[in-house]
């Protein structure tokens, strides 16, 4: 403390090995170094624990696959709204390029992701956020939506009921609506 001895200003070039030892000495060579090393280690461990904690282990969501009744239950040009709240799906008996089919439209607007509303009197899906409108087929008619609504996979299960799988998405503008996995012909 008393009288800071002047150290030589030109330090000799240290080898990489000695520099590494210098780092180890700084980390473990004194109680202060040990303390900060332990603090850093504890902080890193704690950060990892908190990061893991923020990922839930159980989700309160319905399964992605669900049954939606028999194809015969759907009258011509019918839009079924009862799966909207639980599953986010319109089940429609409509047409696409002149072919009659039953398909499952995703209720999410293709503009910014709001949930659309079925307007039975106008026969349109309307978005409450910015006024986008979609036809029964799901084609975008008006407003800022840049592309049609999306379809989910649909098939007739072994028990004769329609089964909708929300883990697969089909987009019209990519030509995916011709895939038989996204409609049931009637």
């Amino acid at each position: 403390m008393a009288g800071n001895a002047q150290e030589p200003t030109t330090a000799p070039k240290r080898s990489a090995d000695r520099r590494r030892r210098g780092v180890l000495k700084a980390m473990f060579g004194s109680f202060l170094g040990l303390g900060f090393t332990a603090l850093g280690a504890a902080g890193a461990l704690w950060t990892a624990i908190v990061a893991r904690l923020m990922f839930p282990n159980v989700l309160n969501e319905p399964p992605s696959r669900f049954k939606a009744g028999h194809p015969g239950d759907y009258p011509t040009d019918h839009v079924e709204t009862r799966f909207k709240d639980a599953h986010g799906v319109w089940v429609v008996h409509g047409t696409y390029r002149g072919r009659r089919q039953i398909y499952a439209l995703r209720t999410v607007c293709t503009h910014l992701g709001c949930i659309t509303i079925w307007q039975a009197s106008e026969r349109k899906f309307k978005c409450p956020c910015h006024g986008s409108g979609f036809s029964v087929e799901g084609m975008n008619l008006e407003g800022p939506a840049p592309r049609p609504l999306e379809r989910y996979a649909i098939r007739v299960a072994d028990d004769g009921q329609l089964e909708i799988d929300r883990s697969k998405i089909f987009q019209e503008e990519l030509g995916q609506w011709d895939d038989p996995a996204c409609y049931v012909s009637v």
Binding site: L53, P56, N57
Partner: protein, 257 residues
């Protein structure tokens, strides 16, 4: 110029650490005083103040446990919903489903330990006569902090929302109905009456205000949740700052007589 020197000379470093590294005793004092984290400890203390046999370190341990409760409590809040539908299930899920179920146990045992530590701290301060002049005011702040610690325990007790919680708070809050004047079953409650009509009834007394209802229900759960997680910790944190500041300003930790 070595890397360490280059970092210490950078604008970023200098903007954070106002004072250059200490080279003598006077500069060490300046470094400590100009740094928020370092100034939490005094520049100099008397030798007896770090002797565990004198202080038992119970004040420090109480503060440490408060920090443990704050950190684990915030993490528990990410998964706990204070509603009749979810409170009990979320409490169970925190133990069985969510990662690190030990967090809830840490919070619970920490709460028990904090009550014990704060009593022992008070006992030590009493035995060493540290409440005497000039520390009378800080003793009073400490008494309020003791009450707040007990209230934190009491309000936290309801949150698991099991049978033990509900009936413990029912019994505990029944004391509020027997308070003089403002409790509707307490002595002298008829003092507050206008034209022969009682102002203090079961729907207007101190218990009613505490529970937000006549009986322990969802209103009480929400009320205790807000008190437990926000209101009481904020007041306690402010009073702790006053408490620690006064320890320093009243001459540091009291010495043996």
């Amino acid at each position: 110029m070595g890397w360490g020197e280059r970092i210490r000379n950078s604008q970023v470093w200098k903007s954070i650490f106002r004072h250059p590294p200490p080279v003598d005793r006077r500069n060490r004092v300046l470094v400590v005083l100009t740094n928020l984290i370092l100034h939490l400890h005094p520049v100099a203390i008397q030798k007896h103040a770090v002797r565990p046999s004198y202080t038992w370190c119970m004040g420090g341990i109480t503060f440490f446990l408060f920090l443990v409760e704050t950190i684990t409590g915030v993490l528990l809040m990410f998964y706990y919903r204070p509603t009749l539908e979810w409170a009990y299930h979320d409490m169970l899920a925190l133990r069985d489903v969510v990662s690190y179920g030990v967090l809830r146990e840490l919070h619970r045992w920490g709460a028990h330990a904090m009550v014990i530590a704060v009593w022992l701290h008070m006992y030590r301060v009493f035995l060493t006569g540290s409440y005497k002049k000039p520390r009378e005011f800080n003793w009073c702040v400490g008494v309020v902090l003791l009450v707040l610690t007990l209230l934190l325990s009491f309000t936290g007790y309801l949150l698991p929302w099991d049978q033990l919680s509900i009936w413990a708070i029912t019994v505990g809050s029944n004391m509020a109905r027997a308070v003089p004047i403002v409790g509707h079953e307490g002595p002298a409650q008829q003092v507050l009456s206008v034209g022969g009509i009682d102002m203090i009834t079961s729907a207007s007394d101190s218990r009613f205000v505490l529970l937000g209802a006549r009986v322990v229900g969802e209103e009480t759960l929400n009320r205790f949740y807000v008190l437990h997680c926000v209101a009481i910790p904020l007041v306690a944190a402010f009073l702790m700052a006053v408490h620690f500041w006064r320890v320093r300003k009243d001459g540091g930790i009291s010495g043996p007589l």
